[in-house]
């Protein structure tokens, strides 16, 4: 990794820490995130009991906040990663097809992109979850299948550009079919900008998940998610500030890191730095 500045190194370190914390949550969490203890309701950070210390305090049902935040990171990152994967794959495929075949294929695909982009995404997500019922799987599907148009636009524009290059002509003359040209010749050369879009969408998906969970349409209680912890914490904000502050800070830092990482990635895949 050449040319990583100290600031960027810190961001990468934080991102890795979040991912490790999410993956290792069952092992590193000091308490069971679902175990209630009504005698220990809304205890401030640092309260010590026989079983250990509530480092970040407890919630309205006496559950350990640190454990819930760690498990909540799992939900946030899993929802974001899976929904970004779905929309990246689907959107890129449509963009490649539109850019390669052009004509009525492009008209059909790009008009549906315009249509999708004209619908407020969060409203569509709320509506769909409300109809299908809230669940982890539905949440991922809704986010995955409403967020593909941005990838399609980028993939379409990039494909149009790459398709005119002589090496694509050469592949045609070699006898390669459309599928091979798209997979081997075009996709690897448009992957950079798509990854940049995927990173910025990843940050957005974490916010969407938190937003939907806050509205009660995402991860369902008693399972923790940053959004649902904050939603409950809102009612106790004068008495128990830690319920909203800690998950909110995590959300803020993670999304900020992801977005800064995206900017850094964009600078690195800039066409001017290619072809050394």
């Amino acid at each position: 990794m050449r040319g990583v500045s100290p600031g960027m190194a810190l961001i990468l370190l934080l991102l890795v820490a979040f991912i490790v914390a999410a993956l290792a949550a069952p092992w590193i969490a000091p308490f069971d995130p679902l175990r209630q203890s009504l005698l220990m309701r809304l205890r401030p950070p640092g309260t010590t009991v026989a079983a250990g210390m509530y480092l970040l305090g407890t919630d309205d049902l006496g559950r350990d906040l640190l454990s819930r935040v760690l498990h909540g990171a799992r939900a946030s990152i899993a929802v974001a990663a899976l929904s970004v994967s779905i929309s990246l794959a689907f959107g890129t495929l449509l963009g490649l097809l539109a850019g390669w075949f052009r004509g009525w294929v492009a008209i059909a695909i790009m008009r549906s992109v315009d249509t999708m982009l004209s619908i407020p995404a969060i409203l569509l997500a709320v509506l769909t979850v409300a109809v299908l019922g809230p669940s982890f799987l539905n949440l991922i599907l809704v986010l995955g299948l409403t967020r593909w148009p941005r990838y399609t636009r980028v993939a379409y524009a990039q494909t149009l550009q790459v398709a005119t290059l002589p090496y694509i002509r050469a592949a045609e003359m070699a006898g390669a079919g459309s599928a091979r040209i798209l997979w081997r010749h075009i996709l690897p050369n448009i992957a950079g900008p798509l990854m940049v879009v995927a990173t910025s969408e990843f940050g957005l998906m974490i916010l969407f998940e938190a937003g939907l969970s806050f509205l009660g349409l995402g991860i369902q209680p008693p399972y923790p998610s940053w959004g649902s912890i904050m939603s409950v914490g809102r009612q106790y904000v004068e008495r128990a500030w830690w319920l909203t502050v800690f998950p909110g800070a995590c959300l803020f830092v993670l999304v900020l890191c992801v977005n800064l990482f995206g900017d850094w990635l964009r600078d690195r895949v800039d066409p001017r730095s290619q072809g050394r």
Partner: protein
């Protein structure tokens, strides 16, 4: 005479114009390339020479006329037939930077034609790729590397190796050295000539550089505004150009010897090349020709034999 590798008859390629009138990039061109022969196609920018080469390799559909490769008609052929003919004609592009996929190893690029046509795979494919790389003066270990690790001249060698993979009968070279440093041009040209002789391959060599054309071509076709104005054996063309446009082109080539340069007849051309979407009537060159008469303004000259040459000029005899 043996059957030609490529026979082009009355080829026309028109593109839809922005303002309605079609752009007549190529408008009635006929020529043939014999086995093992190199035909040069010269002309200034925008005369349609690259469009001719794109039509020959099947990247641009002809609007009119016939294109026969090894006796098989390409115009209006089925997909399967086109797929077969395309293996007989391969192309070397102008810019070696954009003619190689930056994300594909050299070995994968050179072997792709063999792989996708099911002619070789696995160890046999690697062996063929190694042979091809050696044939163009590279080393087998270069197959693992990526295009950005090579210089312009080396990249053009890789492009040539890829074009040779299917053992084509005709190699279309579209300005193969004009993007290269002068110092490596000769190497690439000599490589092309040598490969052609060894393989008995014919070549259509498109260039605007007359010195290069003189070095590699057996016959030369001169294009102006989508039409052929002269088609002659190399020595005849350079010694005794018949068409006024050919004369102007040759007169514009600078001589290395200042004495020879000063002694050279000057044939200045007035004006700009007319728009191919609105070509002048009659001889398309009459707007810039110092010898143009009323007949030139009305009657389109056909390409007719004169000595060793073919020339499309009403006054070729009187000018000689």
């Amino acid at each position: 005479m043996t059957a030609p590798v490529l026979e082009v008859t009355d080829l026309a390629v028109h593109f839809p114009g922005r303002t309605g009138a079609p752009v007549r990039a190529v408008d009635g061109v006929s020529f043939a390339v014999a086995p093992g022969e190199t035909l040069g196609l010269v002309g200034e920018s925008g005369c349609g020479k690259s469009t001719v080469s794109n039509a020959v390799v099947g990247l641009v559909p002809p609007t009119r006329g016939s294109l026969r490769v090894m006796g098989t008609e390409m115009a209006g052929a089925t997909r399967a037939t086109k797929h077969e003919i395309r293996a007989r004609v391969q192309m070397v592009f102008q810019d070696p930077v954009t003619s190689l996929n930056p994300r594909m190893s050299v070995g994968a690029a050179v072997g792709e034609p063999l792989l996708v046509r099911g002619l070789a795979s696995g160890a046999a494919l690697r062996a063929r790729v190694d042979e091809l790389l050696e044939e163009v003066g590279l080393r087998p270990e270069h197959a693992q590397r990526y295009p950005h690790q090579f210089s312009g001249g080396q990249r053009q060698r890789i492009v040539i190796a890829r074009a040779l993979a299917l053992r084509p009968d005709l190699l279309v070279c579209d300005e193969p050295v004009s993007a290269l440093d002068v110092s490596v041009r000769a190497q690439i040209l000599n490589l092309l000539v040598e490969l052609q002789q060894r393989r008995g391959m014919a070549s259509l060599f498109v260039s605007h550089d007359l010195a290069v054309v003189r070095h590699v071509c057996d016959r030369v076709a001169v294009m102006y505004l989508g039409r052929l104005v002269e088609l002659a054996p190399r020595d005849a063309l350079f010694a005794a150009p018949r068409h006024p446009y050919t004369r102007a082109l040759l007169a514009a080539v600078p001589e290395p010897d200042p004495v020879a340069q000063r002694a050279k007849p000057r044939v200045p051309l007035a004006g700009e090349i007319p728009s191919p979407s609105n070509p002048p009537p009659g001889c398309t060159f009459h707007t810039r020709c110092p010898f143009a008469t009323e007949r030139c303004r009305q009657e389109v000259p056909s390409l007719r034999p004169l000595g060793e040459s073919m020339v499309a000029c009403h006054h070729a005899e009187t000018l000689a």
